[in-house]
Amino acid sequence: MDYFRPRSVEEAVTLGQSPGAAFLGGGTDLVLQMRQGKVSPQCLIDVHNLAELKEIRRNGDVLELGSMVTFSELSDSNLLQDSARALWLACQTMGSPAIRNQATIGGNLGNGSPAADAIPALLALDAEVCLRSQVGEEVVSLAVFLERYPLLAPGTLIWKFLVPLRGWQSGFAKLGRRRALAIARLSVAVALKTEGETVMDLRVAFGAVGKRAFLSPALAARFSGRELDVHWRTEMISGSQELVRETLKTRASAPYKAVAVGGVMHQALMLLQE
């Protein structure tokens, strides 16, 4: 096995052309999968320390998050706390402190877990993902990107995320079997804008319901343009339960998740910042 520590994204992408190459972020998933024999890359390209990939910055009305920013760094970011609360909340509860110190947001997407904590929040916040490969740069909406199979073409590096800052309120909640180190059994992220008391531009995303996190355009359409009151909240909760029941159909987890999602949705709505 070869191991490279490129000095730039350019170099990383070039090295990414090697046969059997895998980009290595924090390693919290990949190192374990290699040990378990689930993946056996011939070549590791360690990008976790690349300064270009470690930036959190505001660029006009867009928040730019480098793919190698760790969950701890995101948790400690005031900018994130103020402007992308759903994501900030998701980063607080992912894994344990030690995992958050090492795991990266790019790795969270690249690993492709249905329960990835950051993904529903990024979906709700309408994030775009920027990819780099030998072909060049590609910017694609995360929602569209998540429809690709396989997720990443060989040699493609997750470069950064662009999160539009539109003055949205957002919230996130997850259900795990314990408080720390719990892989999400269910997660919900909600983002919305209000005009007066009216909900505009609602976006609702679910994690750990099916193979990948997804947005629900149906819920968004049904609950946008209405007054944000107790009825709205109650119907959002029952609406999410219907959606999960329909999505999971006869899956073994359906009876449980179709009920439990109501509580998770309730919590996500309670955490919407004022």
Binding site: G26, A98, Q102
Partner: protein, 154 residues
């Protein structure tokens, strides 16, 4: 591959496999057996070490990834003549039972105290939430961290 690691303020030149875990290099090549393997998948925290002052699970980090970082294992925290206040308080308050979780617990606590000298009970529990104790000594562990925080602050 050749790597250089800085562990407990000492530099080591090593030849390792690219897929060798930091945990194994610390234990087997450097003889730093205070770092333990309890689960091998980041669930138990027995392998916790500090990397640039932050707690990480050394079972989920490749040795090659640790190059350029400052590492600290339990052996670098203190010694019998100069114990760290955490080491002292863990012994004095009975926060040590079987001792297998202890090095990881102390390192997670040290990462906390190094940036917060007045942690609340909640903050202590949060900082230690990735470290399991199966002898069920959490209460004493939290008290030991509180006592050490007071001593460090003094």
């Amino acid at each position: 591959m050749n790597i250089e690691l800085r562990v407990n303020e000492q530099d080591f030149r090593l030849v390792v496999e690219p897929d060798e875990r930091l945990l194994d290099v610390l234990r087997e090549r450097l003889g730093l057996i205070g770092t333990k393997e309890g689960c091998g998948e980041g669930e138990c925290g027995a392998c916790t070490i500090l990397m640039d002052g932050k707690a990480v699970n050394s079972c989920l980090v490749l040795a090659a990834q640790a190059v350029g970082h400052e590492l600290m294992t339990i052996e670098g925290v203190g010694d019998r003549l100069h114990p760290h206040p955490l080491q002292k308080s863990f012994v004095e308050l009975g926060a040590v039972q079987c001792g297998f979780c202890t090095p990881g617990m102390i390192l997670s606590a040290k990462a906390l105290l190094d940036r917060n000298l007045q942690p609340s009970e909640e903050e202590i529990k949060e900082a230690m939430s990735g470290n399991l104790c199966r002898c069920t000594g959490y209460d004493k562990i939290v008290k030991a961290v509180q006592r050490a925080a007071e001593e460090v602050a003094r």
